[in-house]
Amino acid sequence: MPPARDVAIVAFAQTDHLRHTDELSEVEMVMPILHQVLSQTGLKTSDIGFTCSGSTDYLAGRAFSFTMALDGVGAWPPISESHVEMDGAWALYEAWVKILTGEADTALVYAYGKSSSGQVRDVLTRQLDPYYLAPLWPDSVSLAALQAQALIDAGDTDEPALAGIAARSRTSASDNPHAQLAGARPQGEYLVRPLRTGDCPPIGDGAAAVILAAGDRARELCERPAWIRGMDHRIDAHSLGVRDLTDSPSTRLAAEHAGVFDRPVDTAELHAPFTSQEVVLRKALKLDDSVSVNPSGGALAANPVMATGLIRIGEAAARIHNGTSDRALAHATSGPCLQQNLVAVLEGEAQ
């Protein structure tokens, strides 16, 4: 079923992603990219119908940090606003639904993460089952490594193939001025075997913002809007021992609902923080070698947690805006081992 309204991404901006941004508070990091997307479209805060953000206080250990970040929007007189304690891709989903219902015609979506303040591997253990998992503090790299070993045991990949994904991603990132790791590099030692340093994302800080608009408004604001043809998100069981870690049924289901399999895509921006997770996603999304996967470098080149998924949607949209893609898939993930997955299909009109 096609969406009830035509909604497009009309602007996208992201910060340079850096290992440390000690000199910046969160609002100081976010504000410049909010100004960038507004100036790309010529909109003012007062023109925006709905604002939605994604972040988590746990990353930098700052209670209610999202209300501080809102200072960068200019929220007076009061604006219609919401926040998700999730990756900004889910904030974009909320904004899309808001526009589909007719309650708004434009939306500003942003997300940010400042992983440098804490130990992100430990912080992410706090999202796990508090009874059976969190007391063991299984960190994000360790859980991804369990998934990688399951893939190796199943014959779906091996260490050289994973190294190839790392090299391809970071080579692609050479064309991405915002990337934290641009250019191929040695795989390094095992961080948690079978994953080496090169199989894991960099730790860093960054932010991203997107503007959505409906129908003719989108055409006024952008020369070639990236129309959202479908978007859906699904979740697998929480317990890792219940899941088949070599597959991602929730990604496949979300893709079916988003219309991915109706016609081939030419580009896919996948939110795969670990090389092994690209293997799972390619299988679930039935992507063959004709598809350009992560031309931005993906999460292996820059992983500002909470913004990485929104950046995948923004990067896919940017390729439609500049004419390098006509039909792109964007994917975002959340939770351990690709637990929850969002898939969007973006299209440009014939050039």
């Binding site: 000690d22 700052r62 501080m68 303040s117 591997r121 317990s239 890792l240």
Partner: protein, 319 residues
């Protein structure tokens, strides 16, 4: 007024520590109490599968499931990952393998640590058994870890009542996260000025309001505050409350007064304690000034200046 210059970055350690007290459902309660008694329980789903660790609801159908069975303390590794540098709160202090283990009699796997000499000795399919913790309280950590085991397969699954003496009904899960806090440009400038006993706000270039303390952005206009403006030192109490409850770790006699104080030149009131005056004589419009203590990096409190009270009209916009 001076133009902002790049400050030296301030940093301070920040520890966020919290004990979560969580109640257990009937299935979780039976499972965790069972661990205390060296008994591993699973739960049977509608289609006959045994889930270990057990949950209250079927992860596929969402059906309520209560049919408990006992499984063996032995099992098989279904996947593993070698962790060469254990992190602070992980189950073992020496290098170990994370493992998912399907216990004999179970259809799903449980996550835990495996104590093994090195990655060469671990593989998928390895037979393991539970090593029980010496001190067991009814928590997942009652399993100290798994260890390789070449003995016979444990006893097959059998029905279990799930009843034990003194059932565990809740857990207290402590959590500690360590951060390095850095406050950003605007707050760094503010804190640096405070250490010289000056209160410096920042002006919005668009609406010209002076924010104290500054946070880097004008929340009305959504732009960066640019100019530093020294305000005060004196100010006006715009509103206040009388505190009658003694805060933990705070060495101040109750009752005391906590107020909003609009420093002269500021367009936003800041918070501060008001002293040097009986609590029941503090009033709106009272003129106050900061009191600094030896070595203090911010005003200890504010005290009356002795000036006449400010007119209500002079501060009503700042309440």
């Amino acid at each position: 007024m001076t133009a902002a210059s790049p400050p030296e970055v301030l940093r301070a350690p920040l520890v966020v520590e919290f004990p979560f007290t969580r109640s257990l459902g009937p299935v979780q309660s039976a499972f965790l109490t069972g661990l205390r008694e060296r008994t591993v329980l699973g739960v049977r789903t509608g289609d006959g599968k045994v889930l270990v660790p057990p949950v209250e609801y079927d992860p596929v159908t969402a059906e309520e499931i209560r049919d408990l069975v006992e499984v063996a303390p032995t099992g098989t590794v279904t996947t593993w990952a070698w962790n060469p540098s254990p992190r602070r709160d992980q189950p073992l202090k020496t290098p170990f393998a994370w493992v998912l283990v399907k216990l004999d009699g179970a259809d799903t796997a449980i996550l835990h640590a495996l104590d093994a000499p090195g990655p060469e000795s671990v593989h998928t399919g390895l037979r393991v058994r539970i090593r029980w913790a010496g001190d067991r309280t009814g928590a997942i950590t009652d399993i100290a870890c798994f260890e390789p085991y070449e003995g016979k397969t444990g006893e097959a699954a059998g029905p279990h009542e799930g009843r034990f003496a003194d059932m565990v009904t809740g857990i207290i899960a402590p959590a500690r996260l360590d951060y390095t806090y850095s406050p950003g440009r605007a707050q760094t400038r503010y804190i640096n000025a405070l250490s010289e006993r000056k209160t410096v706000g920042e002006r919005c270039p668009s609406c010209h309001k002076v924010y104290v303390p500054p946070r880097g952005a004008c929340p009305t206009c959504g732009v960066a505050t640019t100019d530093q403006v020294e305000v005060g030192p004196a100010g006006t109490v715009t509103t206040y409350c009388i505190v009658n409850i003694k805060a933990r770790n705070l060495d101040i006699e109750v009752p005391y007064v906590y107020g909003h104080i609009a420093l002269d030149g500021a367009d936003l009131a800041l918070h501060g304690r008001i002293g040097g005056i009986p609590y029941d004589q503090v009033r709106m419009g009272l003129r106050v000034e900061p009191v600094w203590t030896e070595g203090g990096r911010y005003p200890d409190h504010y005290r009356p200046t002795g000036e006449p009270d400010a007119d209500y009209d002079a501060y009503k916009e700042l309440i």
